[in-house]
């Protein structure tokens, strides 16, 4: 317990968390501090490219094994399944309409790549290794949850727009393509490729992450300030309970398929985190009647900071305790 607290403490005063906090506070205080959209997009492209590439290099170094295949399958299944759980919890805990609940559920089945990236930083700080292909697991978990949400809506009688185009758009969305593509580039070029570009994708990585989290904090803060009204106590409780529950599922699955400690923590974080980039855009197309203020605020304004500040050290501590590592 003491260890958890000290890890949490150490985590809380990292430049990454504090940058997010700065953005949050600045936005809540209505500072006019903003980061241009193009710069924010540029940073997200950089982060996706770097994390994918490094994952690929790790795989090229350690080779492919059955755990990899199992992990990918597990990722897809989890992404399909978690929205059902989320939907059930939302119906119990909140008064959201079917459509709003399904839209929120889609976010929690999908993943937040920034939370994933922040976790790899924490793991690296603790010298804990993890499977390089967890990046690929992250990629496969992005989209399936959206299909589950549409199915949930269809089942409950409303008409969700499952256009022919939508499937292709989901699978080829910018972040998936970049993550998977750079993963393959990393896998193909290996350590040699990494050596060539590591002063770009390794050394400054954490610094870029700070500025990106500053931006996330600004957006989250703006969202919180404006959507105070749409947030019920039940919804906020869900946004904290859900990651706890789903990280636990991730823990079980990770142990079942035999991941390393680091891999288990990353799978827990993938389960526990909620999308706020890819899924919101998909929801505007597929479930336009759902209120964006609800799902964005829950995922970016509540679950994201919760995971970042408390979740990551907590999941790590739990995984360490349970696996005895």
């Amino acid at each position: 317990m003491n260890e958890i607290l000290s890890l949490t403490g150490a985590n809380l005063i990292s430049p990454i968390i504090l940058s997010f906090a700065l953005g949050l506070v600045a936005a809540l205080a209505r500072s006019e501090l903003t980061i241009p959209e193009a710069v924010a997009k540029g940073m997200s492209i950089y982060l996706l490219f770097a994390i994918g590439f490094k994952g690929g290099v790790a795989v090229s170094a350690h080779g492919i094994d059955t755990t990899l295949v199992l992990s990918l399958v597990a990722g897809v299944v989890l992404s399909f399944g978690l929205p059902m759980l989320a939907f059930g919890m939302l119906r119990l805990m909140t008064g959201l309409s079917n459509i709003d609940a399904a839209a929120v559920a889609a976010h929690y089945g999908s993943i937040s790549i920034v939370t994933f990236v922040a976790t790899t930083s924490v793991l690296k700080g603790q010298m804990i290794d993890s499977e390089g292909y967890m990046v690929a697991v992250a990629a496969v978990m992005e989209a399936p949850a959206i299909l589950s949400a549409l199915w949930l809506v269809a089942r409950s009688g409303s008409k969700a727009k499952m256009e022919p185009d939508l499937m292709r758009e989901l699978m080829l969305n910018g972040s998936i393509v970049l993550l998977v593509g750079s993963f393959f580039i990393g896998a193909l070029t290996g350590e040699k490729g990494l050596a060539e570009i590591s002063p770009f994708i390794v050394a400054p990585f954490k610094g870029v992450l700070c500025l990106f989290l500053l931006d996330m904090g600004l957006i989250a803060g703006r969202g919180l300030r404006q959507s105070k009204k749409v947030l019920s106590v039940g919804a906020v409780a869900f946004a904290i309970a859900m990651p706890l529950v789903s990280s636990f599922i991730g823990l079980l699955v990770g142990m079942l398929i035999g991941l390393s400690l680091g891999g288990i923590v990353l799978l827990m974080v993938l389960c526990a985190s909620a999308s706020y980039i890819a899924v919101p855009a998909a929801m505007r197309v597929a479930l336009p009647e759902a209120n964006p203020a609800i799902y964005l605020t829950l995922s970016l304004g509540v679950t994201f900071p919760f995971n970042l500040a408390l979740g990551i050290p907590l999941y790590l501590a739990i995984a360490q305790t349970v696996t005895g590592a």
Binding site: T34, I35, P36, E37, A40, K41, S44, E163, D165, G174, S175, D215, L218, I219, R222, Q226, S227, I277, A278, P280, A281, A282, R284, V285, P288, E289, N291, P292, A293
Partner: protein, 102 residues
Amino acid sequence: MQTHIAKRVEIVIEAPLERRLTTALTKAGVTGYTILPVLGGSGRSGQWTLEGQVGRAGMVSVVCLIKPERLDTLLEAAYRVVEKHIGVVSITDAHVVRAERF
């Protein structure tokens, strides 16, 4: 200078729907349009700003100049896309140079 009457239709629509709208316009025979970026705005669904956003966020403004007789086809095509979404459609009378283009 010789000008010809036309309609200027301005559709403010969510960015993730941009491709759907332009596809619908093209199918309805509208071949000319211009897409302008939007920084932010306010409407029934609240206030928003593009700043710091990542991903396909925000809205865009699609401007079409067309022959008046084709207005209804355009509006119906556009409306089917905008209908359930956040967005605004407005029409103004205009004149254009080089009518052969529209």
